[in-house]
C-alpha cells in the first residue's frame, strides 16, 4: 500500500475516487427516491458527446463534458415536466442521442472511437493535477449542497404536491438534482468511467435502503458504502491489475448482495408482526380470534385491491389486515382468520 501511495497518479486517483464515492450516492439517493435510477446513465451517455466536443475543439474534455451533461440533464427534467413524453422515453432519447453524437463527433475530430474508451470505463493514469483540482472543487460543492438542502430535496421528491403547497419551488429543486447528477457523473468519468459511474449513484443506495429506516440514515450509509467501495476498489484493481471502474462497481454490488437478504428477512419478520401492535382500539370489545367471528360487515367497508388494508394471501383466498385482525370476505360480512 505504501509503495502505491508513492505515485502521484495513484494519490490523485485515490482522492478522486474518495470524493466520487461520497458524492455519487448522495445525489443518487434523491434519484432513487424519485424512481429515476437510470437518469445517471442517461446523463453519462450525453456526457460522451461533451467529451467528443472537447476533443474536436481542442479544449478540456472534462470541462466540455460538464457543460454538455448539465444542459442534457436540465433537458431531461424539462421534457419530463412540460413535454408529453414520459420520463423513460425522455431518458431513452438522450441515451441514444448522446452516444451516437459522441461517436460521430469523435470521428469528426479525426480520432477513432478507441479514444473514448478512457472516458467510458475510466482511466486512472489520466487523472492530471488540473483535472484533480476541478474534481475536488466540484465534488465538494455537490456534497455540501446535498447535505445542506437534503431536507428540502427529501420533501420535494417524497411528496411534490405537499412541497408545492409549503411554498417550495419543486421544479427548481428537480432541475438542481439533475444538474448535481450531471456534475457528479462528469467529474467521476476518469475514475469509474461514464458508463459505470451511475452504478455508484444507485447501487450503494439500493444496498443501504434494505436496512435503514429513514432517508437520512440511507443517505449517510450510502455515502459511506460508496466511499468504501470506491477506495477499496482502487487498491484491489491496482494489486490485481484489473479495471478500477469495474472493480469499484462490483464491490458496491457485493454490498447489495450482503444487505438484500438481511433486508428481505427483516421485512418478512415485520410483516408477520405487523397485525399485532395495532391491537387496542379506543372503544369496543377487543377482537378475539374466534374461527367464525363477524366483527365488521361488508357495509362498513368493502375490501379490495386498493382499499388501503394490507392484503395477505391465506390458502385459497386473500385476507385483509384490519385493525389488528384479519378479514376474510364471506357473503356480506367478514370472517376473522
Amino acid at each position: 500500500m505504501i509503495d502505491l501511495l508513492q505515485y502521484d497518479f495513484f494519490r490523485n486517483a485515490l482522492l478522486a475516487a474518495f470524493l466520487t464515492g461520497l458524492s455519487a450516492p448522495a445525489v443518487g439517493t434523491f434519484l432513487v427516491q424519485r424512481r429515476l435510477s437510470l437518469m445517471g446513465d442517461g446523463i453519462g451517455h450525453v456526457a460522451v458527446t461533451g467529451v467528443a466536443i472537447g476533443l474536436l475543439t481542442g479544449t478540456s474534455p472534462l470541462i466540455a463534458a460538464i457543460v454538455v451533461a448539465i444542459v442534457g440533464a436540465a433537458a431531461i427534467e424539462l421534457i419530463r415536466t412540460f413535454g408529453r413524453t414520459s420520463g423513460d422515453v425522455a431518458l431513452a432519447l438522450l441515451f441514444y442521442g448522446g452516444l451516437a453524437g459522441g461517436v460521430l463527433v469523435t470521428g469528426l475530430a479525426g480520432q477513432g472511437p478507441n479514444v473514448l474508451y478512457a472516458y467510458l470505463f475510466g482511466s486512472i493514469t489520466t487523472v492530471s493535477s488540473s483535472d484533480l483540482l476541478v474534481t475536488v472543487v466540484l465534488a465538494a460543492l455537490v456534497i455540501v449542497l446535498v447535505l445542506l438542502l437534503s431536507p428540502r430535496l427529501f420533501a420535494v421528491s417524497q411528496d411534490a404536491e405537499f412541497a408545492r403547497v409549503a411554498g417550495l419551488r419543486v421544479g427548481a429543486y428537480n432541475v438542481l438534482v439533475a444538474v448535481l447528477a450531471a456534475v457528479t457523473i462528469t467529474v467521476a468519468m476518469r475514475t469509474v468511467g461514464l458508463l459505470l459511474v451511475s452504478a455508484l449513484m444507485v447501487v450503494p443506495v439500493a444496498a443501504t435502503q434494505q436496512l435503514a429506516r429513514g432517508y437520512r440514515a440511507t443517505l449517510y450509509a450510502a455515502m459511506a458504502l460508496g466511499c468504501l467501495a470506491a477506495t477499496s476498489g482502487l487498491f484491489v484493481s491496482a494489486y490485481a491489475d484489473v479495471a478500477p471502474g469495474a472493480t469499484i462497481v462490483l464491490i458496491a454490488l457485493a454490498g447489495f448482495a450482503l444487505t438484500w437478504p438481511v433486508g428481505a428477512l427483516l421485512r418478512r419478520r415485520r410483516r408477520l408482526h405487523s397485525p399485532f401492535p395495532e391491537l387496542a382500539p379506543a372503544e369496543g370489545p377487543a377482537p378475539t380470534l374466534d374461527r367464525h367471528q363477524t366483527a365488521h360487515t361488508a357495509e362498513d367497508h368493502e375490501h379490495g385491491p386498493d382499499c388501503g388494508h394490507r392484503a395477505v394471501p391465506h390458502g385459497d383466498h386473500v385476507d385483509y389486515v384490519h385493525d389488528g385482525h384479519r378479514h376474510a370476505p364471506h357473503g356480506r360480512h367478514y370472517d376473522e382468520h
Binding site: R152, F162, A166, G308, R310
Partner: protein, 265 residues
C-alpha cells in the same frame, strides 16, 4: 372589492379545466375562520380538484382563488396552509421515518439557510403527540397501517402550525376505528379554533364535526348549507350517499339564502 377579514380560502367564479375538459364551473365558495366544511360528491364530481384549486395546485381557467385575502399563488406565508393529501398507496423509493416525513411540514416556516432549531423539533414533537404517534417516530412510515399513515400526514400539516387544515379524502381506505380516532383528533383541533376543509366520500364518524356541507355534482355546487338539511340518511355511514344528495335540477336554491347555488350559465 376587498375580501372580508374572516375569509380564509375563497374561490370567486372559479372554473377549472383539466386536459381541455371542464371539471369545475361557476364555483363560488368562501370559507371563513372557524368553519368546518365538508366537500361531498360522487367520484368524478370534482371534489378533489376543488380543494386542489383552493390550494393553488391546479390553475383556474377563469375566476380567482384567494388565501387569507391574497391571490393564493402570491401567498408568501405558506405555513398558514396545512395540506393533508390523499394517502399515497405506492411506497416511496427509499425509506423515510415517521419523524422525517412529519418534519418536512416545518420547511414552510424555515428559511433555506437556517438549520432545524429547538422550536422546529418541539413543533414536530407536538404534532406527533397530537396524532398519537410519538412512539412510532423512528419507524419506517411504510410499516404503519393505513390509518396511522393518514395521521402521519396530518401531523406533517400540523407542524407548520397552520390556520386552515385542508384534507383530501382523509377517510378513504381507513378502517372505522381509525376514522373515529381521526374524528377525535380533528375535534380537538376544531375546539382549539382551527378552520377545516375536507373532502369526503362518506362522512362516517366525522359527521358530528361538520358545520357546513358543500355538495358537488358535475363540477358545480349543487348544495351548500348545514349538513342536517342534506336529504339523506342521518348516519352517513354509507357507500354512495351522494346519489341521495344529488340536486333535482342544476338551479337548486340554497335553503338558507334562497340564492341559486349552481346557476346555469
Amino acid at each position: 372589492m376587498t375580501p372580508p377579514a374572516a375569509e380564509v380560502l375563497a374561490i370567486v367564479d372559479g372554473a377549472v379545466e383539466l386536459g381541455g375538459r371542464p371539471v369545475l364551473r361557476g364555483i363560488d365558495l368562501t370559507v371563513t375562520r372557524g368553519e368546518v366544511v365538508a366537500v361531498l360528491g360522487a367520484n368524478g364530481s370534482g371534489k378533489s380538484t376543488l380543494i386542489r384549486a383552493l390550494l393553488g395546485l391546479v390553475p383556474l381557467a377563469r375566476g380567482e382563488v384567494r388565501a387569507f385575502g391574497v391571490p393564493t399563488r402570491s401567498l408568501t406565508e405558506r405555513h398558514r396552509l396545512g395540506f393533508v393529501p390523499q394517502r399515497a398507496t405506492a411506497s416511496a423509493g427509499i425509506p423515510a421515518s415517521v419523524r422525517e416525513v412529519v418534519a418536512a411540514g416545518r420547511l414552510a416556516r424555515r428559511p433555506i439557510w437556517r438549520p432545524a432549531g429547538r422550536a422546529d423539533r418541539a413543533a414536530v414533537d407536538r404534532a406527533l403527540q397530537t396524532v398519537g404517534l410519538a412512539d412510532r417516530a423512528r419507524d419506517d412510515v411504510t410499516t404503519l397501517s393505513g390509518g396511522q399513515q393518514q395521521r402521519v400526514l396530518i401531523a406533517r400539516a400540523l407542524t407548520s402550525e397552520p390556520e386552515v387544515l385542508v384534507l383530501d379524502e382523509p377517510t378513504a381506505g381507513v378502517d372505522l376505528a381509525s376514522q373515529r380516532e381521526l374524528a377525535a383528533t380533528l375535534e380537538r383541533l376544531v375546539t382549539a379554533g382551527a378552520t377545516v376543509v375536507l373532502v369526503a366520500h362518506e362522512l362516517g364518524p366525522l359527521a358530528p364535526l361538520i358545520r357546513r356541507a358543500v355538495v358537488l355534482h358535475d363540477g358545480r355546487v349543487s348544495y351548500d348549507g348545514p349538513p342536517a338539511d342534506l336529504p339523506h340518511d342521518p348516519h352517513g355511514v354509507h357507500h354512495h350517499p351522494v346519489t341521495h344528495h344529488r340536486a333535482p335540477s342544476p338551479g337548486l336554491r340554497d335553503p338558507l339564502t334562497g340564492s341559486a347555488a349552481g346557476e346555469v350559465r
